[in-house]
């Protein structure tokens, strides 16, 4: 996937006279991919447990509306809440919705496709009902920084500091094989340099945008959860063989429920990123996002048959999908032709990747 992504980027850079690889566009790309990337990380766990969640786009729309409704004048209640309270309430709500779906799947043993399809309908409708279909705006200026817009980047010194801290952590973890750590260190430093190459509104370096940092933190967290904790181990065991997991004494239902709840919470985070970025909550937000998210996870090596997948892969998958979109608009390809080209490139990339993996064995 990484190799295919590199090829794609070079190709897009070539046809766009290098604009595609300009720091500004790369930063845009990362910001644009962050909401889908955050949800894809959670989707990895749900799919790895042999389930699926189609509701996340609607949950994003609904919780986005709630977060906005709680903080704007004349929103849900007479007195608007401060934005951190609204944000926390929204994410908690999204987590509860995920748990509600998970409960039907895990305890009532209904097929997750149908349960979450129902969720897709319910929360799309609910998003509309929250505000009677109105767009809720404007949102608090401090809140909109989360979206990475004006003032939504952390500046050059903080960016370098974070990059340095991350490099140190990687080096510490890999001190036995320092050469293996080199590519990761190089990538980190490159990312920081790119982020700092974009000028902010005041002319100095903008630095890393907040949504990208959120994505990084989520990806790291889900990666750790998946590979270093009992919960993650059990998720993959369930996906490999639900019966074996049950017989081994794993609390299959509890684990399944928690995977859905986690994805729900991450949809809430994505809702925050989306509304903050837009500076508003609209009732069509998140429509059809579920397909993009599942595609990102699957592109990143998650198997719909369960038992395999990684957060890092999902983030790569999200970048992949967004690179195609981003690049095509950059080339001013009309939307119909864009869809055709994206579809064809997608097949070609998956084919190349599958072949590469097979040959590597």
């Amino acid at each position: 996937m990484l190799a295919a992504l590199a090829v794609l980027w070079l190709a897009l850079a070539w046809v766009s006279d290098g604009v595609f690889l300009s720091p500004r566009n790369l930063v845009n790309l990362a910001v644009q991919a962050s909401a889908v990337g955050v949800m894809a990380c959670g989707m990895v766990l749900v799919i790895a447990a042999r389930q699926i969640d189609l509701s996340i786009g609607s949950v994003l729309g609904f919780t986005g509306m709630v977060i906005a409704g709680l903080q704007v004048q004349g929103g849900l209640f007479d007195a608007p809440l401060p934005w951190p309270a609204a944000l926390a309430a929204g994410i908690a709500l999204a987590c509860a919705i995920g748990a509600w779906h998970g409960a039907w799947v895990a305890y009532a043993r209904l097929p997750s496709f149908l349960v979450t399809l129902a969720g897709l309908l319910v929360f799309r409708g609910a998003a509309w009902l929250v505000s009677d279909g109105r767009t809720l705006a404007p949102l608090d200026d401090a809140y909109t920084r989360i979206g990475g817009g004006l003032g939504g980047a952390i500046g050059a010194p903080a960016t370098w500091a974070i990059a340095a801290a991350a490099c140190a952590a990687i080096a510490a973890a890999r001190w036995r094989a320092p050469l293996h750590a080199l590519p990761a260190l190089a990538a980190l430093i490159a990312c920081a340099a790119i982020a700092n190459a974009v000028p902010g509104p005041d002319g100095t370096s903008a630095g890393a945008p907040l949504p990208v940092l959120v994505l990084g933190a989520v990806a790291l967290g889900v990666h750790g959860l998946a590979t270093r904790t009992r919960f993650g181990r059990h998720v993959f065991a369930i996906g490999g063989s639900p019966i074996a997991a049950e017989l081994a004494g794993i609390d299959v239902r509890g684990v399944t429920l928690r995977a859905f709840a986690l994805l729900g919470a991450l949809s809430g985070v994505a809702a925050a990123l989306t509304t903050a970025r837009l500076g508003a909550a609209t009732n069509s937000m998140g429509t059809q996002t579920e397909l993009a998210v599942i595609a990102a996870a699957v592109l990143g090596g998650t198997s719909l048959a369960g038992g395999a997948g990684s957060a890092g892969g999902a983030v790569l998958g999200a970048l992949w999908m967004q690179s195609l979109e981003n690049g095509m608009v950059l080339l001013d390809v009309t939307s119909a032709l864009r869809q055709v080209v994206i579809g064809l490139v997608l097949i070609a990339a998956v084919a190349a990747d599958t072949r590469a993996r097979r040959d590597a064995r």
Binding site: R24, T135, L278, T282, N326, D332, S335
Partner: protein, 337 residues
């Protein structure tokens, strides 16, 4: 089946069936509210169906409304040319049809609307008024939605001379799937990147997408570049007051809803279409002559925000939220001195 007229005159309550195209934008909710209010005043019953942007579903909806005993149909066509069978069913049941907001090219309908092509023209004219030359981008609606083309045609009507004279260069021309604001935002970011981070005006087809465009411009430090829209969304009017959007073409949906209530009850009562108050004959692009009642869209800009406030469409507080009430503020938001 007894004719609708007969049932209406026999004192039975009139049943008005409304087939909506979708409810994705704020305005339809307002259309619905005023239409329902109008019907209630006249003692008529309201039935509705929402096609969720699908021609197939709209066809089924119309059938269902007929099954449920509608005496007159109000149709917000999702795709006017794909309604043939629905009109045939209505004709077979002798039920009058009002084409609401969107023109249906058929001989036996009553057309009640704002002119969408005119909406596009007003958008472009207003943009040209503040930015007579430079690099323009078009952010159009969903490629699946026929209205997209009507609006865009109007925009081109107004801009064509400037484009041909070279005063205006088109540096981006993109559809936005589903009219989604977040997609519009991403598209705008790409158009900006492509143009090296500068642009002179954005001709955007509705207010929802204009929100995404404004956010993209703000993030690039370009707040204040002319942007158009339509629908008179509260958020858009607020942006106009804040100087982040130039115009929102306001079609007072309440007037349209009220007119629909009036016309539908009249038609159900047996009034011939030509005799409806204010109706005039209208020739469609394909040359069909239908009776029509056309309302004027209004361009809302910084200068005339009072108009929507005075009409009770929105409150002053919501339009002027966050606006510094000093002398720089738009007239509607200036502190009374």
């Amino acid at each position: 089946r007894a004719s609708a007229a007969a049932s209406a005159t026999s004192g039975k309550e009139v049943v008005v069936g409304v087939s909506w195209s979708h409810f994705q934008e704020e305005r339809w909710k307002i259309d619905e509210a005023s239409l329902v209010a109008g019907l209630r005043e006249r003692g008529a019953r309201y039935l509705s169906a929402d096609a969720q942007s699908s021609s197939e579903k709209q066809l089924a909806d119309v059938e269902n409304l007929i099954t449920r005993g509608a005496d007159v149909l109000v149709v917000v066509a999702h795709d006017p040319s794909a309604l043939g069978p629905a009109l045939a069913s209505a004709r077979a049941a002798r039920i009058p049809v009002i084409a609401y907001d969107r023109l249906i090219e058929a001989p036996d309908i009553f057309y009640l609307s704002f002119d969408n092509r005119r909406v596009g023209r007003i958008q472009a004219e207003q943009i040209l008024a503040v930015a007579p030359r430079g690099r323009f981008a078009f952010i159009k609606g969903s490629p699946q939605d026929p209205n997209t083309e009507f609006v865009h045609a109007g925009q081109l009507d107004a801009l064509r001379p400037a484009i041909e004279a070279g005063r205006v260069q088109v540096v981006g021309d993109q559809y936005v799937d589903g009219w989604l604001p977040d997609v519009a935002q991403r598209v705008m970011e790409q158009v900006l990147t492509r143009g090296g981070g500068s642009i002179d005006a954005v001709v955007c087809s509705n207010d929802g997408m204009a929100g995404g465009v404004a956010a993209a411009l703000a993030a690039a430090g370009l707040s204040g570049i002319p942007v158009s829209g339509q629908d008179g969304d509260v958020a858009a009017l607020n942006r106009i007051a804040l100087g982040r959007q130039t115009v929102s073409v306001w079609k007072d949906s309440r007037a349209l809803g009220r007119a629909a209530a009036e016309v539908s009850v009249a038609l159900a009562g047996g009034t011939p279409p030509e005799k409806i108050a204010g109706a005039s004959p209208f020739t469609t692009p394909r040359g069909v002559r239908v009776p029509a009642l056309l309302l004027e869209p209004v361009a809302i800009t910084r200068a005339n925000l009072d108009r929507v406030i005075d009409a009770g469409w929105v409150t002053r507080a919501s339009v002027c939220r966050g606006v510094d009430p000093g002398p720089q503020a738009p007239p509607a938001c200036r502190a009374p001195n």
